[in-house]
């Protein structure tokens, strides 16, 4: 009897669900245009700011309404692949330069060049604009950036008698010297979460003259020379010759490497600039921390920019309206507010200045925002199989190198041979 009831209940449940599927559906019906905006904002403040910007737009444009579709960063590439291939992609796509470039190459994104005003073009540093330019077309507007900076425990540096760098930039050699000087009494000079080292090494390579890639898309070639090997070899020297890097951090994520920094086990840590907010929130009371000047290598302080972006789906029925919304979203005021909410660096000079004026040097903002001027495009953004190479070849190869399982020559050949096998 009970079994029969359960079966009947199950049948009813399934039937009702299938019937429910017959309802629903949405679409434009001659009213105002509705644009879908797939947003990846994840911080509560950034979500609220995104909603505010969209609300402001919707209020000012009753004929063009924008609807936010929240999505998560994890797995968004697969989602976009399916959406674009199936013709169901949103009108406005939030992503990042490195991830969106392949979709532009495949012809899924609208050319935003005609909608980019001369003023805005001039407001975006050339290197950042290059990072969102594919085949001469602007395929996205940059919205947020991060740089790699050094956070330091001021007290520990002072106790070690170290002169705290105060220039516009700081050399890697200076960092190495400070790390050596602060490595004593069981404490280490530096903690650097390098469990996934490729992103950091590739992003910081321009400072050493490293480019990694030449060409774009499927024609990109990889060559690993002194410029590309400069930073990995420096880290190796600091870790195994100077013994100034806390060894465990080399196997940890960036966030995990913050814990020994808070505990005074490391005097400095290399992190994404956005960690300033987390340090302010999570560090113990009285923890006196500073952001050291941007790092400069032999070739200067440049870092590769991989901005978050807003693009427009080429198949959208309302490309012009979508582009206008993107332009609105990236106004100076909106970019400053978004980046403050997300603790990131605005990609336009005017928004960076606005944020600098507003925040001053609070929580290292001054130095972090200043580091934004050194962000530039990098060839890896446009190398077709970069993501696959990064995950399957480069990261394991760098890990083996940092663990001293292979030497510099072994690393070089693993990286280059791996690229050849990935692009076969």
């Amino acid at each position: 009897m009970k079994t029969r009831r359960a079966v009947v209940a199950a049948c009813l449940l399934v039937t009702s669900l299938l019937l429910a599927a017959c309802g629903g559906g949405s679409g434009d019906s001659g009213g105002p245009v509705t644009l879908t905006f797939q947003s990846l904002s994840d911080q509560p403040a950034a979500i609220a700011q995104t909603q505010k910007i969209v609300g402001d737009w919707n209020k000012a444009h009753p004929d063009v309404q924008v609807k936010i579709v929240p999505a998560g960063w994890d797995g968004v590439y697969d989602k976009l692949v399916t959406q674009f291939n199936a013709g169901s992609a949103p009108d406005i796509v939030h992503y990042e330069a490195a991830g969106i470039a392949p979709f532009a190459t495949d012809g899924y994104l609208a050319d935003l060049t005609p909608y980019l005003s001369p003023e805005k073009r001039a407001d975006i540093p050339k290197g950042v604009l290059d990072s969102v330019t594919v085949d001469g077309k602007v395929i996205a507007y940059p919205t947020e950036l991060q740089s790699y900076v050094v956070f330091a425990n001021k007290t520990q540096l002072q106790q070690a008698g170290v002169a705290i760098p105060a220039g516009a930039t700081m050399t890697w050699d200076q960092l190495r010297q400070i790390a050596k000087a602060t490595t004593k009494d069981g404490k280490y000079g530096l903690g650097w979460g390098l469990s996934s080292p490729t992103a950091a090494f590739v992003a910081l390579a321009p400072g050493f003259g490293g480019k990694y890639f030449q060409g774009t898309g499927d024609n990109a070639t990889l060559s690993v020379g002194p410029g590309e090997m400069g930073l990995p070899q420096l880290v190796d020297a600091m870790a195994h010759q100077d013994n100034s890097i806390l060894p465990v951090t080399l196997t940890q994520s960036g966030t995990k490497a913050l814990a020994p920094f808070y505990a005074g086990q490391t005097a400095m840590t290399v992190q994404g600039s956005y960690q300033a907010v987390n340090i302010e929130k999570d560090a113990p009371k009285g923890f006196d921390w500073i952001v050291l000047p941007p790092l400069a290598g032999p070739a200067g302080p440049d870092q590769a920019a991989n901005p978050q972006t807003l693009s427009v789906n080429k198949d959208s029925g309302h490309v012009k309206e979508a582009a206008q919304f993107v332009d609105f979203f990236t106004s100076t005021e909106n970019l400053a507010a978004m980046n403050e909410a997300d603790a990131l660096i605005p990609p336009t000079t005017s928004a960076r200045q606005a944020l600098t004026t507003k925040l001053g040097s609070k929580n290292g903002w001054g130095t972090i925002l200043a580091s934004g001027q050194y962000l530039t495009s990098a060839p890896y953004l446009f190398a077709g199989k970069y993501a696959q190479w990064k995950d399957t070849v480069a990261t394991p190869a760098y890990q083996r190198f940092l663990a001293r399982q292979v030497d510099a020559n072994g690393l070089k050949s693993q990286l280059e041979d791996g690229w050849k096998s990935v692009t076969k």
Binding site: A10, C11, L18, Q43, P70, G72, S88, Q146, A263, P284
Partner: protein
Amino acid sequence: MRLLTRPAQYAALVLYLLFLGFPLLWLISASVKSSGELNSLSASILPHEWHWENYAEALTKQGLLHSAWNSLIVALASTALSVLIAVPAAYVLARLRGRVRVAGVGWILVSQVFPVVLIILPLFLILRALGLADNLAGLTLVHTTYMLPFALWMLQGYVAAIPVELEEAGAMDGANRLTVLRTIVFPLLAPGVVATAMFSFVSSWNEFFFALVLLQSPENYTLPITLNMFVGGEGKVALGPLAAGAVLAAVPSIVFFSILRRKLTSGLMAGAVKG
């Protein structure tokens, strides 16, 4: 000779339970810790201070409860469908001989070798053509299709374990096939059905990739998709709220298991066949 004394057996059991329960314990602990404590070197199970705001944030962010409701509907419906289809099909697979069975077993094995990324695009296009993309019914069908081969495989093993002599004995007493199935096979198969239902429910409840790609509207998001939003760009993770959300996400599974646990009895066949 007994190798283990009773206290040693209990000690082994406690150790095993600790081994199994530790990740859950750690998850609960993380869900009530402050961000500062989660990002410190402190590794105590008990938090220094209890912070319940992680739960508040988990519940208020992105409509977690609504997503949980969606997950529950999809999981229950796909479990019911899987079991309803798998029970008769498994009986046929286990009892029949010949080409149909070979083809059936072949299909089950082959269906398991396709990576989901290979089928997701055509699947999406088919569902869209049927008007089932971006809704829970479509996801239910996908989950059912995806779970069915394994459910069949599981159940046909249970059917095969039921001695055919019992059915023959029933037939000898004058029962027709349906009566034999209803009065002899199904009662003995109940534990297998329950185990299969549990597996199906948990698989659907935790499924991420299909839901990620097939569901486009926030109002249709299932729990794993919403939990995924606690993981941000640039490596940011809201660990406390994520842990709280994960704890809440585990509750329905635990309830479902506790309801069905009593049904998972075996030994019904003990003594059924006298040698």
